[in-house]
């Protein structure tokens, strides 16, 4: 029996746009999740860790990133680790794997830069398929010799595109859907897609799957499904289907949340955020929709502050909020009421525009601008009342 921990696409040092100051936190979390993964490998008595490419986001990542990873791999485990370069960190002349820091590796870590098979165990062979360039349309697994008899377990380690299910489109380095069978492999550990996917198209854990994407060990963006995992693969005998188990490794949660203010007062929404479990490990993409009464403008401000304080990152989409038709009673002067009415009409698209004041140019009175103007008015009025 052979037990392997299959992982890929660590994308260390990746770029995280749109997150503001949280980007650094997101990068740091990838090392935290790697610690989780190494700990799981030890806990689950994996005989080897297979890293199916894209350990790094790019060959030009900073030395700190590389040294951090190398240091962790050196110090945090003694489980043998087999790494192949992927399309993000191909074994080119400027490859990250050529840096001097790799000479500090201990013997349990092996970066495979050739297709030469290595022995995983007395009765098991590993066929690494490293990439030496970023782009290509050849199948890297074709370098694996087909099974010619023998009673050894054969494991492939490759990085490329296997059309495991609809929606997974053609990409670079296409890998035949039946590559494992063709090459006589008992298991083909794949990297490239960030979601955990097995070759039978129904996800990891399927009994018949011989090829599997472990997915990235830490989610890289919003909307990325079933990521932040590694898979534990157990091979009993040659020819038998592998047992695949998904293990959670990710540290951060990337969550989308929609709140309909027509159904839920903004105070309730604030409560939801306030009571959010593990908010300190959550990146939130919050969409607010529905009508916002004037008196709730201050609450909206408070909601924003709350979200930014509690969560690793919170992006609030307020573009679908519309000003409520009621609530103008907060205005004690007629011209403020009239101003609010005019802006509301503009925000709803009912009014073509606002007549400019004498000497003023016509404002860029798009509905979005009008909505924002109305919010400012509401906040100011609410503050004045307070």
């Amino acid at each position: 029996m052979l037990r392997l921990l299959h992982t890929a696409d660590w994308q260390m040092g990746m770029m995280a746009t749109g997150l503001g100051p949280a980007a650094a936190r997101v990068r740091a979390a990838r090392l935290d999740s790697l610690r989780n993964l190494l700990a799981l490998a030890a806990d689950r008595e994996a005989q080897a860790i297979l890293v199916a490419g894209d350990l790094f986001e790019d060959n030009q990542v900073g030395s700190t990133v590389v040294e951090g990873v190398v240091g962790l791999l050196n110090d945090a485990t003694r489980v043998p680790i087999h790494i192949i370069p992927g399309n993000h960190d191909p074994f080119t002349r400027d490859s990250v794997y050529r840096r001097p820091v790799w000479s500090q590796l201990r013997g349990h870590i092996k970066v495979h830069t050739t297709f030469e098979p290595v022995r995983l165990a007395a009765d098991a062979l590993l066929f690494p398929c490293p990439l030496d360039r970023k782009f290509g349309m050849d199948d890297p697994t074709t370098a694996i010799p087909v099974r010619n008899g023998g009673a050894e377990l054969r494991v492939g380690l490759a990085h490329g595109t296997m059309r495991i299910r609809p929606g997974v489109g053609d990409d670079y380095f296409p890998i035949a859907l039946d590559a494992a069978d063709r090459r006589g492999l008992d298991y083909l550990a794949l990297g490239h897609w960030h979601s955990t996917l097995a070759a039978d198209g129904v996800g990891a854990g399927a009994a018949s799957a011989r090829a599997c994407y472990s997915g990235t060990h830490e989610t890289t963006r919003f909307g990325e499904r079933d990521s932040g995992n590694a898979v534990l693969v157990t091979l009993n005998r040659p020819g038998e289907p592998p047992a695949i188990e998904t293990l959670r490794t990710g540290v951060l949660r990337w969550t989308d949340l929609e709140i309909d203010l027509d159904r839920q007062p903004i105070a309730d929404a604030a409560r939801t955020l306030r009571e959010w479990p593990e908010a300190e490990r959550t990146l939130l993409r919050l969409t607010l929709r529905g009508a916002l009464p004037p008196q709730a403008s201050a609450e909206l401000l408070a909601l924003r502050d709350l979200a930014r304080e509690r969560f690793v990152h919170c992006a609030i989409d307020e573009s679908q909020i519309r000003p409520a038709d009621t609530g103008d009673e907060i205005f004690t002067t007629p011209h403020l009421r009239q101003t609010a009415e005019a802006l509301r009409a503009l925000a709803s698209g009912a009014a073509p525009g606002i007549a400019p004041a004498p000497g003023q140019t016509a404002p860029a009175a798009s509905p979005e601008v009008a909505r924002r103007a109305l919010q400012i008015l509401h906040q100011a009025a609410w503050s004045a009342r307070a």
Binding site: S63, P334, H335, L336, Q338, L343, I354, P356
Partner: protein, 923 residues
């Protein structure tokens, strides 16, 4: 608030206690000449209400009556907030303040000192100052409703007053919330926009949008720079891979070259050994060939020498034969030459005889010619003698003729004309003058003779020939007419003188001239001066004689010298004849004719020419024969030389052949046998060489040289590639340390973040601008609506005052009139553009309208106007009085004026003669 009574004591120019009251709650007229203290009353009113009684300082001291230390004092009864009050304030000297309230029919003091000061300010709705004296903005509604002298055309409304007015007018647009909202919005607007509505630039107060745009652009630039660097590294990596592949290929090629070199060098060693054996065969062949060529050469040389002997012999024979032929030809030519020379001598003698005959013929012809010339000369000499005689005769004739010459006759003609002219002049001297005026002429006439002077010439005036008249004709000038006997006498004397001259000049010709007194038929009288014809005829005869002499003198040889010359020529010709006869005695006979002699001469010349032609032909023939003889002689000599040469050559060749045969000492047969043997040996050597293959050593050496050259080139390439590889490896290896992607990630994240913030800031800025402008617009509309009653009142009364010139009065948001709209035009004229009087009247109307509205809505207000109609014309004054009367029903009006007559129409007004009151106070 209205005033009930006002008392002022020792305040500036108002000495003693000056009291006005009771004041009417409606119209009040306080009048007095200038300097009576009207403005002082208003000053005391304001200071009494709003300044602390403890105020000191220069400004307050100016209120003291000049030259005294008395403390200015004011006492005011007024109604405010439903109560009736009395304030008494004294400044500077023993300052005090006391406030009393009317209660139960009596005044009751309820405050004093500073506290009373503050309470009074509160009652009057004014403001206190911390330090110094108050200003109009502290006077509450007094700032608006109390118009000081010279400031009636201005209307400033302070913030507090505005609030009061707004509250009173129910203009609640700027309540606390409105103000707070506006302030919040305006502050945010000011953060981003300049007053002109443009985003703020500059380093200090730059709008967030612009600042973020700048930062975003800088971040983008950083991203671009890193991307460029990454592309460069990627390219370097690619280049390095290619360079390494190329280097490997070159190394492989170099290895192949080196291997091949080793192989070829081994092969060269083997071939070099084989080449030595081949060289020996080549040497043997060369020796055989040399032997054969030597023998063959000897044989051929002997054969050639024999052939040369035969050829020399033939040539010697031929030259001998040619010498003999040339000698014969030379003898023939010599004979022919001698014959030609004899012929030439004969022809020469013939020519000489013919020339002698020709000379004789020529002398005969010459003699005949000389004889002819002598005879002609004799004839010419005779003719010359005759012509010389004729000339002498003509000269004698001319000398004997007494006639005037051409010049003399011309002078006589001139004199004749002068005589005639003088005679005519003398005749004309006896004239008469007659003047017949067409109209009477005013003249001053001086007539020396018969006529008497006349002032007016109105009849003909005749003047005699002797005398003079001087006429002065008005408008024409002076005319002098003179005639006199002295002139006629002078003329006659001149005429006589001329006639005397005439006679003297013509006297010499009188006798010769036909028809003249001296001529035959005349009696010796002088020539009449009128008759020039006889002298003209005499002159004509002289001219003819002169002409004839001239003609004779112009003929040739007509002088004695000519005659002598011709006679000498005759003598010379005769001498020549005699000389010719001496040469040719036959001439002495003289029996020769010119024609015969010329024929003989021509015949002799022809014979001479024919003889000369024959001589020339003979001479030419001699020359030809001489040439032929020379050529024959040369040929004979050349043939002799050839013969000697060929004989010598024959001897030489014979000697050479003998010498060749003596070289090897062999016979000809022996020699042929040896040659055959050598040829056989040579054939055998050739066959052996042909059987042995020449080793390709040179080709192999060239190949090796090429390989060595190739090896050097490969080494050079490897060196260059090594350098390139080193450089590229360094570039690529160093790039890893830069961490470009990590830098790119951070820069991109920052740029993205800045862009998002920029978008947000843009949205915010646009929203603030929109809100700002919408707020302004709506506020303006609201204000317009709320101010409508004030506007309508002012516009109506303004129309009454100035006529239908303006259709609308505009107010700014501080409730002050900002401008007017001329009727029928959609433009606004600023209030400042109105004339001072019109602006003053407009402000009067605004004050009255505000006071009236305030009075209707709540408390009656006091309006103080300091000479409000001083700048109005009569018509406007009448309208203004009407308006003031109406205003008096809703507000208390205090009019201060120095011209009470202007307010005669202000019925019902309480009137106060300030001058009288003040006088009474002083007195």
């Amino acid at each position: 608030m209205i005033l009930l009574r006002l008392a002022v004591e020792d305040w500036k120019g108002l000495r003693g206690r000056v009291e006005l009251g009771p004041l009417s709650p409606g119209l009040n007229l306080i009048h007095g000449p200038n300097e009576t203290g009207k403005s002082t009353l208003l000053d005391a009113l304001c200071r009494g209400f709003f300044d602390r009684h403890g105020s000191t300082g220069e400004e307050m001291k100016k209120r003291q009556t000049w030259g005294t230390n008395l403390g200015p004092r004011v006492e005011i009864d007024f109604e405010a907030g439903g109560g009736r009050y009395r304030l008494i304030k004294k400044f500077l000297t023993s300052p005090s303040c006391e406030l009393s309230r009317w209660r139960d029919g009596a005044w009751e003091k309820f405050d004093e000192g500073k506290s009373a000061d503050e309470r009074i300010v509160e009652l009057a709705a004014g403001e206190s100052t911390g330090k110094g004296m108050t200003k109009p903005e502290h006077w509450g509604l007094g700032q608006v409703l109390w118009a000081q002298q010279g400031q009636a055309a201005e209307l400033a409304v302070g913030d507090r007053q505005q609030l009061r007015l707004r509250e009173a007018l129910k203009l609640t647009i700027d309540g606390a919330q409105g103000e707070a909202v506006e302030r919040a919005v305006f502050e945010r607007y000011d953060e981003s926009y300049s007053p002109g509505g443009k985003l703020r630039g500059g380093q200090q107060n730059m709008a967030a949008v612009l600042r973020l745009a700048e930062e975003s652009a800088a971040a983008d630039a950083t991203v671009k720079e890193i991307e460029e660097r990454m592309r460069a590294i990627e390219q370097a990596s690619h280049d390095l891979a290619n360079a390494e592949a190329e280097n490997e290929a070159t190394k492989a090629q170099s290895l192949v070259t080196q291997t091949e070199l080793v192989q070829q060098r081994a092969k060269l060693a083997e071939l070099t050994a084989r080449q030595l054996a081949y060289a020996e065969l080549e040497t043997a062949q060369a020796k055989a060939s040399e032997r054969w060529e030597s023998l063959n050469g000897q044989v051929h040389r002997i054969a050639a020498a024999d052939a040369a002997i035969l050829a020399a012999q033939a040539a010697a024979d031929s030259s001998r034969l040619k010498g003999e032929q040339a000698a014969a030809a030379r003898a023939g030519a010599e004979s022919a030459l001698n014959a030609a020379k004899a012929e030439q001598e004969a022809r020469s003698a013939e020519v000489e005889a013919c020339e002698k005959a020709q000379a004789g013929a020529e002398r005969i012809v010459r003699w005949l010619e000389v004889r002819r010339q002598a005879e002609a000369a004799e004839r010419q000499a005779e003719q010359a003698r005759a012509r010389a005689k004729a000339v002498a005769d003509a000269r004698n004739d001319l000398t004997s003729l007494a006639a005037p010459s051409a010049r003399e006759i011309e002078a006589l003609r001139k004199l004749h004309r002068q005589v005639g002219d003088k005679r005519a002049e003398l005749a004309a001297a006896s004239l008469r003058v007659r003047i017949e005026p067409a109209k009477p002429l005013n003249i001053a006439t001086r007539v020396d003779e018969a006529e008497s002077p006349a002032a007016t010439l109105d009849r003909p005036l005749e003047l005699s020939a002797v005398g003079a008249a001087e006429l002065v004709i008005e408008g024409v000038g002076r005319i002098v007419i003179r005639a006199g006997a002295s002139d006629a006498v002078a003329l006659a004397a001149e005429l006589a003188k001329l006639e005397r001259t005439w006679r003297e000049k013509t006297a010499a010709f009188i006798d010769a001239a036909p028809g003249t007194p001296g001529s035959p038929g005349n009696s010796g009288n002088p020539l009449p001066p009128a008759d020039l014809a006889p002298l003209e005829a005499l002159a004509a005869r002289r001219a003819a004689a002169e002409q004839r002499l001239t003609t004779l003198e112009q003929q040739p040889a007509s002088t004695p010298a000519d005659v002598a010359s011709l006679e000498q020529a005759v003598r010379e010709a005769r001498a020549t004849q005699q000389a010719l006869i001496a040469e040719e005695p036959a001439l002495a006979s003289g029996e020769f004719t010119p024609d015969g002699a010329r024929a003989d001469l021509a015949s002799a010349k022809a014979r001479v020419a024919a003889a000369k032609a024959r001589l020339a032909s003979a001479a030419n023939f001699v020359k030809e024969q001489a040439k032929l003889h020379e050529a024959a002689r040369n040929r004979a000599e050349e043939a002799g030389r050839d013969r000697a040469v060929h004989a010598a050559m024959l001897e030489t060749k014979t000697n050479e052949a003998a010498a060749l045969r003596q070289v090897d000492g062999q016979t000809d047969a022996q020699r042929r046998e040896a040659l055959h043997a050598a040829l056989t040996a040579l054939d055998q050597a050739r066959q052996r060489l042909a059987a042995a293959e020449r080793p390709p050593v040179e080709s192999l050496r060239r190949d090796i040289e090429l390989l060595e050259k190739q090896e050097r080139a490969q080494n050079t390439s490897l060196q260059i590639q090594g350098n390139d590889l080193g450089r590229l490896r360094k570039t690529v290896d160093d790039a890893g340390g830069e961490g470009l992607y990590s830098r790119l990630a951070e820069a991109t994240e920052k740029a993205e973040d800045l862009r998002a913030r920029q978008r947000e800031a843009e949205l915010d800025a646009a929203a603030v601008k929109l809100l700002h402008e919408t707020l302004q617009s709506r506020k303006r509309e609201t204000l317009d609506a709320l101010l409508l009653p004030v506007r309508l009142a002012v516009e109506t009364q303004f129309g009454e005052l100035v006529g239908p010139r303006y259709s609308r009065v505009e107010f700014d948001d501080r409730l002050a009139p900002s401008g007017v709209r001329p009727a029928g035009r959609d433009v606004e004229a600023p209030a400042d553009a109105l004339s001072f009087g019109t602006r003053e009247q407009l402000m009067l109307l605004v004050r009255l309208a505000l006071a009236r509205l305030l009075g209707r809505e709540g408390e009656r207000q006091c309006v103080i106007l300091d000479d409000p109609l001083v700048n109005a014309d009569r018509a406007r004054q009448r309208s203004a009085l009407r308006i003031l009367r109406q205003a008096g029903s809703d507000a208390q009006i205090l009019v201060l004026t120095c011209d009470p007559s202007a307010y005669d129409g202000l019925e019902g007004a309480a009137k106060f003669d300030l001058a009288a009151i003040a006088k009474a106070a002083r007195g």
